[in-house]
């Protein structure tokens, strides 16, 4: 069962185009997706996933399960960076540990999208409110990361003058990816409620085109991820192992929570993926500003160079196999 899931994932266009991008770097082809095209695709994906999530959210009633799930998601976004920090302190200083921990507490929207596509192939439903969970899990880890630095680094070489809390909260809640995702989600809710024709007219753009655009973007992500691999040699074995084992551990936490909350199979997979994935967009940008002492190549190369590929290639089918093993097909929700 599990091996067929792995294969089904490996042979999907999305993952194959990711591999093609990796291969381009490995064999030294001059294939590249010049800036700002990757930005076009990432803005498009955020806008579409937000809008469609909002539309679905509007159609589902706001029952307690929704609120509890979202609460659990936010709890994970606070808990995970604390655990990660504790693990990372074995090897790294406070600054690097806090920054890497924040990345793993936050999420990767593209990993989420890839998991959603995977569910669609398996014809397993998931709910629109998981997109709200996605949006709400981006920010807390950023704040936790900075709190860790403030609390643990007193006097430990924190020579730099500190960024104010205002700037940090701004960065956490108004960075472009959170802003566009939440904004599109709210627009989706409003449009679904008050202008159903609008939903229809958006469909070819936000719906039909979505999977192809994801593949194109993953081709670029493959190139970018492979380019980061070189940095890893500098980072050392500890970080490489961390970047593979930590997602597995976080996914297990996510599975336990999903079981407790009686999430459906689809939602459970997405919850695990949110827990397991690490940010390489919002968090690095925030950490660069708030913890300039941390070395960006550590948190970017581990989250983008290892955890991201690991999750979309092996993680998703593996988590799905666990879901099928531990979550009953006909869940309450």
């Amino acid at each position: 069962m599990q091996s067929s899931l792995v294969l089904q994932n490996l042979l999907s266009p999305a993952i194959l185009f990711f591999f093609l991008g990796v291969l381009a770097v490995v064999v030294g082809s001059d294939l590249e997706i010049p800036a700002p095209l990757p930005k076009l695709f990432s803005l498009y994906l955020l806008l579409s996933i937000g809008f469609r999530g909002g539309v679905e959210l509007a159609h589902s009633s706001l029952n307690p399960t929704v609120l509890i799930t979202i609460g659990a998601a936010i709890t994970m976004a606070v808990l995970v960076p604390l655990i990660c920090f504790w693990v990372l302190r074995w090897r790294f200083n406070v600054f690097d540990s806090a920054a890497i921990a924040a990345a793993y507490g936050s999420i990767s929207a593209v990993t989420f999208i890839t998991a959603e596509s995977f569910l669609k192939v398996l014809k397993i439903r998931s709910d629109g409110f998981m997109v709200a969970a996605l949006a709400l899990m981006e920010s807390p880890a950023i704040i936790v990361g900075l709190l860790l630095v403030r609390l643990m680094a007193s006097g430990k070489g924190a020579s730099k003058q500190q960024a104010g809390w205002g700037a940090v909260l701004h960065e956490a809640f108004l960075n472009s990816s959170v802003f566009l995702l939440v904004g599109s989600l709210l627009i989706g809710i409003l449009v679904a409620d008050f202008s159903p024709v609008g939903v229809e007219k958006m469909e070819p753009f936000t719906g039909k085109l979505f999977y192809g655009a994801l593949c194109f973007f993953l081709l670029d992500m493959g190139i970018v991820a492979a380019q980061r691999l070189g940095d890893l040699r500098k980072a050392g074995t500890f970080l490489v192992v961390f970047a593979v084992l930590m997602p597995l551990f976080n996914a297990s936490l996510g599975l336990a929570a999903a079981q407790l909350l009686h999430l459906s199979q689809g939602n459970a997979l997405l919850f695990m993926v949110l827990s397991a994935s690490a940010s390489y967009i919002a968090v690095p940008a925030a950490m660069r500003m708030t913890v300039p002492e941390a070395n960006p190549s550590l948190y970017i190369s581990s989250s983008l160079g290892i955890t991201f590929p690991f999750n979309i290639i092996f993680g998703i089918p593996l988590y799905m196999a666990l879901v099928q093993r531990f979550i009953p097909p006909q869940a309450v929700l």
Binding site: E32, P34, A35, P36, P38, K39, F41, S42, K160, Q161, N175, S176, S177, D220, I223, V224, Q227, Y280, I281, A282, V283, P284, A285, A286, R288, M289, P292, N295, P296, S297, I300, L304
Partner: protein, 95 residues
């Protein structure tokens, strides 16, 4: 007259331009999407431009020699906190 070349992450570009405005720069020109490698060895590549880290920006200011100290104090805190380089050279108006 002097020519000032500032290269830093485009994440801090707005802050830098505000600082230049406040310090009385007569004007400036900005080139974005600049990549490069710094003293720390960290590379800014086009591939990462979609991510939150962005690319670098290159800001050029032509100004009177007398303005240099003011510009220096304006950009110093930013460059020290966030990294980036700043160099001056001699320039003369063509017209």
């Amino acid at each position: 007259m002097k020519r000032l070349d500032l290269i830093l992450s485009e994440r801090e570009l707005d802050k830098l331009l505000e600082a230049l405005d406040a310090a009385g720069a007569p004007g400036y020109s900005v080139m974005r999407h600049v990549t490069g490698r710094g003293r720390s060895g960290s590379t800014v590549s086009e591939g990462m431009e979609f991510s939150g880290l962005g690319a670098n920006a290159h800001v050029i200011v032509f100004c009177e020699d007398a303005l240099l100290p003011a510009l220096r104090s304006a950009v110093q805190p930013l460059l020290e906190y966030f990294g980036g380089v700043a160099y001056t050279s001699e320039a003369a108006p063509l017209l």
